[in-house]
């Protein structure tokens, strides 16, 4: 157990170092960092001085080590476009993205489980059938199109909700939140649905499949024979046993919520790190891109590690196999 734990953590660190290597190579070899920081008017003496000062004349391995050390301390350099510190840019925009991810994740989980149970219990019903059919179309719809369609219906035609931006922001000592005002919630609804819809469909289909599987088991028949109420069987006996795979999938989906927030944030001009990243790609702002890559790398690797470890805790069979190497 301890050995496996150790092995997984080492693997995760290795992947992170690899991601850092990619980020470093981008930073070092794509475009000239000196050119990016000084602009066109600098003299060649200025460039040499800065090159020396930044340590760009040192051996590559040393530069890489310094890059990793700086990154660990939260130092990512300055944006080529705005001259701001990348770390500041990220810390300003991160709350917006995290709140959006949190709300859309909650929406996806609650509605996904609810609809999944419903469609499994009323398998033959008309409503359940139409929900399943709609979800098939929903999976094929690209995220950005869902966003645009929601804007069209709820912002343009009905004028119920704002179509872009994040309003009603309250500053709580460095953390800007939009969860404390009505305006904030109103501007959050459409982006959150856009971002969570795909995950919602995924969870719904998974819960439905698992429920149908569980409802066929003998212990459910036995519970019915004992005269336990249907509601209690469905929610206490059946749903509980479907939740382990659901939690795993939901955990892994947190990563893709973060990644797909790039698209949602662009559609709704939501001022988070995703919008910052796409602007960086557009203007070829390499330090911002490589910092974002590192950030996302840390998020993804930690989630994968957590899910792996959770598996070990939940499923005792894996403990026995784990010592025989990766499967």
């Amino acid at each position: 157990m301890i050995y496996t734990l150790f092995q997984r953590v080492i693997q995760a660190c290795f992947v992170l170092l690899l991601v850092a290597l990619v980020a470093f190579s981008m930073f070092r070899f794509v475009g000239d960092p000196v050119q990016g920081m000084l602009g066109q008017e600098a003299t060649s003496a200025d460039r040499e001085a800065l090159r020396e000062r930044l340590g760009l004349t040192d051996p590559i391995v040393l530069q890489y080590a310094r890059f990793v050390l700086n990154a660990v301390q939260g130092e990512f350099g300055v944006s080529y476009r705005t001259g701001e510190s990348v770390a500041d840019m990220i810390s300003q925009r991160l709350p917006a993205t995290l709140e959006l991810a949190l709300i859309s994740g909650t929406f996806a989980l609650l509605l996904g489980i609810g609809l999944g149970v419903f469609t499994a219990i009323r398998r033959e019903g008309f409503v359940a059938q139409s929900i399943m059919a709609t979800s098939l179309v929903g999976v094929s719809l690209p995220t950005f199109l869902i966003g645009v369609l929601l804007i069209w219906v709820f912002a343009v035609e009905l004028s119920w909700l704002p179509s872009f931006g994040r309003s009603g922001v309250v500053d709580l000592g460095g953390w800007s939140t939009s969860l404390l005002t009505v305006d904030g919630w109103r501007s959050l609804i459409l982006p959150a649905i856009t971002l969570g819809l795909y995950q919602m469909t995924l969870i719904m289909r998974l819960v439905r499949a698992e429920m149908l599987e569980v409802l066929r088991q003998d212990y459910i028949k036995f519970a019915r024979a004992r005269g336990i109420s249907t509601r209690r069987i469905h929610f206490k006996h059946a749903l509980k046993n479907t939740l382990i795979p659901v939690i795993t999938v939901a955990g892994l989906q947190i990563g893709s919520i973060i990644a797909f927030s790039i698209i949602t944030e662009t559609v709704f001009q939501w001022p988070g790190v995703g919008l910052m990243f796409i602007n960086a790609v557009y203007f070829v702002d390499i330090p911002v891109m490589s910092a974002y890559l590192l950030l996302v790398g840390v998020v993804f690797v930690s989630i994968n590690l957590a899910v792996d470890l959770l598996y070990l805790v939940i499923d005792p069979r894996l403990k026995a196999n784990a010592s025989e190497g990766h499967s």
């Binding site: 992947v15 950005f144 069209w152």
Partner: protein, 300 residues
């Protein structure tokens, strides 16, 4: 290729979903290929554009010129039907080219990893493991950004389509490589491969002529599913403004343009490109799912 016999044709004819989606895909591909002959106007010919025709609603005569357009016009007075046909052409071209690149790369790396084994295998499959940790759209955006950084600013517009193909292609190779490697590991132990090696054929010939034919079916299935992903990825990147250049608008670019006019009531500029993209993505998706279920139920 015995699996392509009457069983397959029979299953195809029995499935209405397969017939309809294959029909739609064929129709859209033909429309894209023959766009220059079908389209009433060339949307890229600046001389043919009349700004007076701007914002003409579908099937209604323009207030100034009296001209009528099937699906209306956009702000530049460009015929939307022609723009969609040409956009479809860009979308499909990028999609097919990206899948071809991903397939070539994935099959090659998968064969190499499976056949060689050892550190080559470890290196390639570890790379694949790290890459699938991240969603492919994110990888595509990163590659796009890096490639733009490597190109001189003056050439960025001209090379944008190539960069787009490269970024989507490089982000989708893993699935191919994993499948091909799995089959290669099984096949290379079989006697006919041993015999081919004993005959002194070089490794490349063994891989391509003897092992490769075993993987054509799963590779075809993955290619179809990847095509749907690539089309959506292309549309997404172009919609975000980091894809096809404005001079060669794809369906995603057209939707991006259309979004700007939603608030002023010109809904058709958004609706028709969006519907075309949806139809294309949905039918390729359904076709891919059907192929997977029919040819290789184990692939999931």
């Amino acid at each position: 290729m015995s699996r392509w016999d009457s069983d397959f044709v029979y299953a195809f004819k029995r499935s209405p979903v397969a017939c309809v989606s294959a029909g739609v895909v064929c129709l859209l591909v033909l429309a894209a290929v023959f766009a220059p002959w079908i389209a009433p106007l060339n949307p890229f010919d600046m001389a043919a554009l009349n700004l007076m025709n701007g914002f003409t609603p579908p099937l209604a005569p323009n207030a100034f010129t009296g001209e009528t357009f099937l699906l209306g016009t956009d702000d530049q007075g460009r015929d939307l039907f022609s723009a969609i046909l040409y956009g479809l052409r860009v979308s499909l071209f990028v999609g097919f080219a990206a899948v071809a690149l991903a397939m070539f790369l994935g099959v090659f790396l998968g064969l190499l990893a499976g056949y060689r084994g050892g550190w080559v295998d470890t290196l390639i499959m570890r790379m694949a493991d790290v890459q699938v940790t991240f969603p492919s759209i994110l990888i595509a955006m990163l590659i796009y950004g890096v490639a733009q950084g490597l190109i001189a600013p003056d050439n960025r517009g001209d090379l944008a389509i190539g960069v787009l193909i490269l970024s989507i292609g490089l982000s989708e190779w893993v699935q191919f490589a994993r499948t091909v490697r799995g089959t290669t590991l099984v096949e290379k132990e079989k006697e006919y491969v041993q015999a081919a090696r004993l005959m002194g054929l070089n490794p490349l010939a063994v891989m391509v002529r003897h092992i490769l034919p075993n993987v054509t079916t799963p590779v075809l299935v993955i290619a179809t599913i990847t095509l749907a992903l690539a089309i959506i990825a292309e549309a997404t990147l172009s919609f975000l403004g980091v894809g096809a250049p404005p001079t060669e608008p794809s369906l995603g670019t057209l939707i991006r343009i259309g979004q700007d006019f939603l608030f002023s009531g010109e809904w058709w500029i958004l609706l028709f490109p969006a519907l075309t993209l949806l139809l294309l993505a949905l039918s390729v998706n359904l076709l891919g799912d059907w192929l997977r279920d029919t040819l290789n139920p184990r692939l999931k």
